[in-house]
């Protein structure tokens, strides 16, 4: 059914989107977290009146400014790509995606662009309190921008609150609150912004540690570590809590992603959680499912069942259960879903033919189906499966999902531990002696970025083949354009973004070496 879609076009379009999103996400999390750290530092300045806090605030504000300036508008490229490379998708999502992005654009423009000017230009020109308010508003504005983007992304992971209009082929929002307050959206938002807070805390601690090791800016470094480790520790706990909440959502709305991130092929009651594992090709992969076994793994018994359903003996479906179906667990086989999806697609085709032939009776009858709850739940919810030829196409890249997830979780716990150690060392006044910890925290800066990117790889690669869960596969979302043009723009972006990254790193490193003068 998909033989006319050039697979290399899909791959290059996906590659380009991934490249853009990954580069964009290098700049965003630091903005999200550092803005709040700066606001806290400035609050301490306003409350205590000590000029040292003003100096500390201004130093981190400069690094924030560098990151903000280099990163600003890198996300707009994703919107360019929607219209050019993903036109079927852009049309199909309708106002569900448009509304949150429009709100984001307005909020970002007014909140950030207005108050960021006061934040940078307003020292000694506006009152201390007005300046402080502006700094907090920049932080809230940046995070609110993220909210709308993440609401839109959460809808793709769990499409709710909409009605498909078969006349326009667009999804129309019928319940804004269902979209906005979907549990997937709430957990995604909290998890994503807190990951940014932890990354920014690690960034501040890493640079401050460098100063301590170099015996420079001792006062700035220790005060910064104090603020960042408290903020980071609280954020880490929220990050773990929201991560747990996200996982519980995934098991319901994206069970295949859940099975993939745990490398679980055969469902089990009382399934164990693989804490650490190395995957290897399993013998006897007769179903061509690229089945991987564990060459080595450490498992916490029954914990996966508890994590997923809150019960130690609950059944957790594996990849094979979700593909082949499981009668005992009421899991429909993918083959059935493909048939249902095909019927939904055929109904759409018939409706268009009836409309073109001015067959009003048939047209009205078919159109009514798309509003009928029975048709929606039995057939339309599997619309995307109608594009698939083979039931194994629903399996994402399991090793990639598994390793990304475990990298993210492992590093998340490492950061929690490090933040705690820093706080402890500060209170015991032993920070200068902890050379290993100080050096480790510098190494943690790139690791924090790695964890953050791994999180998005879990979210986006783990949900393949879907661009909108169960409704639209990635290969059907792509525009029929020339592959060469996508290749050209891929390399243009690669060069542009690499140049921006080099500029960011060189300006930032120079500024850090200069210090707080």
């Amino acid at each position: 059914m998909l033989e006319n879609i050039d697979p290399s076009l899909v791959s290059w379009s996906r590659g380009q989107f991934a490249l853009t999103a990954i580069y964009h996400w290098i700049f965003v999390p630091l903005t999200l977290g550092l803005s709040f750290i700066i606001a806290m530092m400035e609050t301490l300045y306003v409350r205590t009146g000590k000029e040292e806090w003003k100096r500390i605030t201004k130093f981190w504000m400069t690094l924030f400014g560098i990151n903000f300036a280099i990163g600003v508008a890198t996300g707009i490229i994703l919107e360019f790509e929607f219209g050019t490379n993903w036109s079927n998708y852009s049309w199909f999502v309708g106002d569900i995606f448009g509304a949150p992005l429009a709100i984001e654009g307005i909020m970002a423009f007014f909140l950030e662009s207005t108050f960021i000017a006061v934040m940078f230009f307003g020292w000694n020109k506006v009152s201390k309190r007005f300046h402080l308010t502006s700094t907090w508003l920049v932080a809230f504005g940046a995070n609110l921008s993220a909210l709308w983007i993440l609401v839109a992304n959460a809808w793709m992971q769990n499409p709710v609150g909409m009605q498909f209009n078969p006349d326009t082929a667009r999804n129309e929002m019928v319940n804004f609150w269902q979209v906005f307050l979907s549990p997937v959206a709430i957990h995604k938002f909290i998890h994503t912004i807190t990951s940014g807070y932890v990354l920014a805390s690690i960034f501040v601690i890493g640079i401050s540690s460098w100063y301590i090791l170099k015996k420079r800016e001792q006062f700035l470094a220790k005060r910064s570590i104090l603020v960042a480790s408290v903020f980071g520790l609280v954020s880490s706990l929220m990050l773990i809590y929201s991560g747990d909440g996200s996982t519980r959502q995934i098991v319901h709305v994206q069970p295949m992603k859940f099975a993939a991130i745990e490398g679980l092929y055969n469902g089990q009651s009382g399934a164990g959680l693989v804490a650490i594992g190395i995957m290897a090709t399993a013998p006897g992969d007769t179903n061509s499912r690229n089945v991987k076994d564990f060459a080595f793994h450490i498992e916490i018994p029954n914990f996966l069942s508890y994590m997923a359903y809150g019960k130690f003996d609950a059944f957790v479906p594996g990849v094979n259960d979700l593909v082949d179906g499981n009668v005992d667990q009421n899991i429909i086989p993918v083959r059935d879903k493909i048939e249902r999806g095909k019927l939904a697609r055929e109904t759409l085709a018939e409706l268009k033919t009836a409309r073109d032939n001015r067959d009003t009776v048939k047209y009205a009858l078919l159109k009514a189906k798309f509003s009928d709850p029975d048709f929606k739940n039995t057939y339309f919810r599997y619309f995307g499966y109608g594009f698939l030829d083979d039931h194994n196409q629903v399996i994402p890249n399991v090793p990639l999902a598994f390793y990304s997830f475990h990298t993210m979780v492992g590093l998340g716990f490492l950061f929690l531990f490090i933040l705690f150690l820093f706080l402890l060392a500060l209170f015991r006044n032993t920070l200068e002696k902890r050379k290993f910890l100080l050096r480790l925290s510098i190494l943690c800066i790139p690791l924090a970025y790695l964890a953050s990117q791994a999180g998005w790889i879990v979210a986006e690669m783990g949900r393949q083949p879907w661009v909108i869960q169960d409704l639209l596969p990635t290969m059907a979302a792509v525009s029929h354009i020339n592959t060469t043009s996508v290749q050209v723009t891929f390399w243009l972006f690669a060069v542009l973004f690499t140049a921006l990254l080099i500029a960011e790193l060189s300006i930032m490193i120079r500024q850090i070496k200069t210090g707080s003068k």
Binding site: I66, A69, A117, A349
Partner: protein
């Protein structure tokens, strides 16, 4: 003499830009980046496919319905 609100806003930004140190370099990067994004990439490489190929929403909808429903 008391300055008007607009004069004060103008001077706020004017002085701010004049007194920038690292910021001047950053503004150059921002402007070059925006020029590349909007004047080159958007204009020459990223047309809105459905807007370019079709003149109205009816035709766009029909095209997408065809894409989504026809056996490929």
């Amino acid at each position: 003499m008391e300055r008007s609100l607009f004069q004060r806003i103008f001077l706020f930004y004017y002085d701010g830009f004049r007194n920038m140190t690292v910021g001047k370099k950053l503004w150059v990067i921002i402007l070059i980046k925006l020029f590349i994004l909007f004047a080159i990439l958007k204009l020459f490489f990223f047309p809105d496919i459905l807007k370019v190929r079709f003149t109205n929403d009816r035709d766009r909808a029909d095209y997408v319905i065809e894409q989504l429903s026809k056996p490929r």
